[in-house]
Each structure stands twice: as C-alpha cells, then as structure tokens.
C-alpha cells in the first residue's frame, strides 16, 4: 500500500495529448527516452551493467558458481533470473516477499533470455550429470520511472555480454574466460493510450494505460517473447504493427548493448 495517488485530471491530460499524437515530455509516439548503459559497475560480480532509460535505472549483476545440473538436462547449465523491485526505487514498492510486479518483470526478462538462447547452456556443462555452471542473473531496480521490463533486459543482456566465467577461481580451468553470448534479445514495451500505442511508457503513462504489450526480438529476426499486461486489449493488427516497431527499436537498442551507442 502506498500513499501515491494519480490525479484523474493528470490521466485525462495524458490521454488527451496522446489523441493528438503528443506526450507529456514532448516525445513522439514512437520515441524512447535517452538510454545509457554503464558496463562493469560492480566489481564483485562476474559481469554487471547499470542501464538507464530516462530516469528508470536497473542494475544487473551476473554470478557464476559451480553446481549440479537438473536431472532432466544433464548436459546443460542452469540459468536463474531474479528481479528485486526494492522499495528504495519507488514510493510504490514495499518491503517483504516479491510483489506480483517483480515476479512479472523477472519472468518476462527470463523468457526472452532463454528463448533467444542468449547463452548456450550446453557450454556451461563441466561434467555431464554431475557438475555445471549455475548462471545467476540478478536485477536490482534502482529507479522506477516507468518501463522496467525493457530496462531490466537491457541491463541483463549487457551484463551477460561482458561477463567472465570465473573458472580459475573455482579451480575448474587454468584461466577465466569470457562468457559466450550467442544472441542479443531486446524487449520493447508499448502501452495503449486511447487509439495510440506509444513506446517506452513513463510511470504516469503506465498509470493511465489501457493495456501494455511487450515484444522481445533478437538480431536474427525472431520474436522471442511477448507479454500483454495491465487491463486493456489489443487487436491482432495492433499486435502486428507493434511487432514491426519492436524490430526497428530492437536493432537500434542492440547498439547500446554492444557498446558505443545506437
């Protein structure tokens, strides 16, 4: 329970603006806020990245530790993702067990990372059936100004791309080596504001939204995850148009992950 209430006139204003193709912060309907990614922010992690989309900030840290493979996949490594919507980042987050919002962010990001085969899990296997690397992807929301999902995946994929397998430290090999990343999934989130479907919603736009749609794409032209959230509906035509836009944004955002901007 938070003491934050969105004023109805603010919601109405957002919807009125959208009807004429405008947004509160002056952005276009199909425009992201400024993006910045700071790789290697945390030296205790095996890979890390702090991603900013506007005032939304997510810090992702990668940890690799030896463990046991699952019995049904003896030749594959284990990937675990976890998002913490810590109360530090927003007046609307509470302490305690993970809220549904945190679980949704975790799972939507997890699905994109897995489906895109971002890392080849078979390469994490050390001894089939006995020993494998467990790759932990922990995401910490530090600022929530809207669109957590896209920001979280940007942080996660950037951290994975620059991660090191600590093989020497765990006496599994003579030297550490770079984690092999084979694909780069990017999630693009849209919300419906009346007849408009706008990309990269702010916190206030999410409060006013009549439905949210997240589309994950990778660099090979595959759609690797989708998630419809919030109360509202999208037609199949809406979805198709949104997927097309997600590919265009995805190609640009991948530039930030690889480093050096779009």
């Amino acid at each position: 329970m938070s003491d934050e209430v969105t004023a109805d006139i603010q919601t109405t204003h957002i919807l009125d603006l959208a009807a004429s193709g405008k947004r509160v912060d002056g952005r276009g309907i199909d425009e992201y806020r400024p993006i910045a990614i700071d790789v290697g922010f945390v030296s205790t992690a095996d890979g890390s990245a702090l991603a900013h989309v506007g005032d939304t900030a997510v810090l992702c840290g990668i940890k690799l530790e030896p463990g046991k493979p699952f019995p049904d996949t003896p030749n594959a490594g284990v990937l675990t993702t976890n998002a913490e919507l810590i109360p530090l980042s927003s007046p609307t987050f509470e302490p305690g067990p993970p809220q549904p919002g945190a679980i949704e962010v975790s799972r939507v990001v997890d699905r994109a990372i897995r489906a895109a085969e971002t890392i080849d899990l078979t390469k994490l296997c050390v001894t089939p059936g006995e020993k494998t690397w467990v790759c932990y992807v922990d995401m910490h929301v530090l600022g929530h100004a809207g669109n957590l999902i896209d920001t979280a995946l940007l942080a996660a994929v950037s951290a994975l791309t620059h991660a090191t397998v600590p093989a020497k430290r765990f006496a599994i090999a003579d030297a550490d080596y770079a984690l092999d990343v084979q694909h780069l999934p990017i999630e693009c989130t849209f919300v419906r504001l009346g007849d408009q479907i706008v990309v990269d919603p702010t916190f206030d736009e999410e409060q006013a939204a009549q439905g949210r749609l997240t589309v994950a794409t990778d660099e090979t032209g595959r759609v690797v995850a989708m998630q419809k959230g919030l109360v509202g509906a999208f037609s199949p035509e809406d979805v198709k148009a949104t997927v097309r836009r997600a590919f265009v944004h995805g190609d640009r955002l991948r530039g930030f992950v690889r480093g050096g901007g779009p």
């Binding site: 003491d3 934050e4 209430v5 969105t6 004023a7 109805d8 006139i9 603010q10 919601t11 109405t12 204003h13 957002i14 009125d16 603006l17 004429s20 405008k22 509160v24 002056g26």
Partner: protein, 220 residues
Amino acid sequence: MIPLSGRYIPKPGDVVVGTVTDVQTTFWLLDIGAPRWAPLHMTGTPWKIDVGETDRYLGVGDSVVVQVESLEATGRIGVTMNGEGLGKLEGGTIVRISPARIPRVVGRGGSMIQTITGQTGARVAIGQNGRIWVDGDAEAIRRVTEVLRMIEANGQRSGLTGRVESYLLATTPTGERGASGPIPPEDREPGPGDGADGAPDEPAWGGDSADPSSFGPADE
C-alpha cells in the same frame, strides 16, 4: 538545519493542491504530499452536503485546491475549501516539483509566474506543496511544464527569470497573440545568499484572485 528539499511540511494559511485518496461519510482524505493525509470535512466546502452524500461531490482521484487551516499536536492537518480561489479542479493537469522551489516559481512580487502565464496564456494555480495545476492548450501546458522543470533544476541560480523568458520567447508558436507583446519587467533576482527562500510570503496562487492579470492570460 533548514530543509532545502524533501516532503512538504504544511503551515497554516498555505494554499495547496491535493488529490482525494478516500471518501468517508462526512469527510474526504486528501493526499497533499504532506507526511499525512489531510481530512477535508464536508462543512469545509461551499456545498450543502448530507451525511453519506460526500461521494456525490468528490471521488477518489479528483483534485482540489484547499487551504491549510490547522495543525494539531496529533499530526492531523485540517484543510478547508471555503475561500477565494479554492475549489475543485476541472481540466488541465498537475505538475509536481520540489516544494522548496515554489518561491522561485512565484518570483519576487509574483514576477516569475506573471512571465510564465503572460507568455504562454496558460492558467496556473500554485500549491505551496509543490503541486502546480496548469491548464490551457496542449502546447501551453508543455511549455509551462518545461519551464517548471527548468526552475526546479536551477532553483539556486540567479538570472533565472531571464532564462525562462528567453526559453518562452524562443518557443512562442508563430502567430500567437502576445508573442510580440510587452514582456514583464525583469525582476530583481534574489542574490545567491537568499537561496531557495527568496520569496517565502508570496500568495500561493499564481494568480492572486485580487489581481486577475496575474492569474489568467495577461493578453486577454
């Protein structure tokens, strides 16, 4: 320690912008950005309301301009909607800035807010709690919002009014009446030593109702 930021701490007499968070049979609870929700009793309104009928007048999410009347030792904040310039807000939107910046938004002698309303044609109601109601056409609201962000980021700088004027002149839509009209005279900026409390006793409303020229569009 003099707080230069943080939550709004109410003072009797402050005019504030609030949003209804709860409706009870004889009162509403308002979020005014203060440490606690402020009860607005039905007798503190210009309406004749029967017990249990409060929800016909204001519902959750509605916004109002009210005045802080009393602060009790229990932390209760008493507010009223009876008074000039107080009432329910219709249309427009609410922009939130740090309450510590409100004196700069008003400006010395109301000069800053006169510049803003004069150059944009927007209607503005300033709450001492850092919540500012802005109404007008979409472009006017956007320009005022931009100016408020500018003031928030540069509250300690001098020469702010000049910068705000330059921005507003540069963004004046072509053909708008008043674009070439007289600019309110440059105010005397508070010196650096005045800090954020340059004009603590200005009227809360951007347009004091006694002075309509500073409330509505100046060129109407």
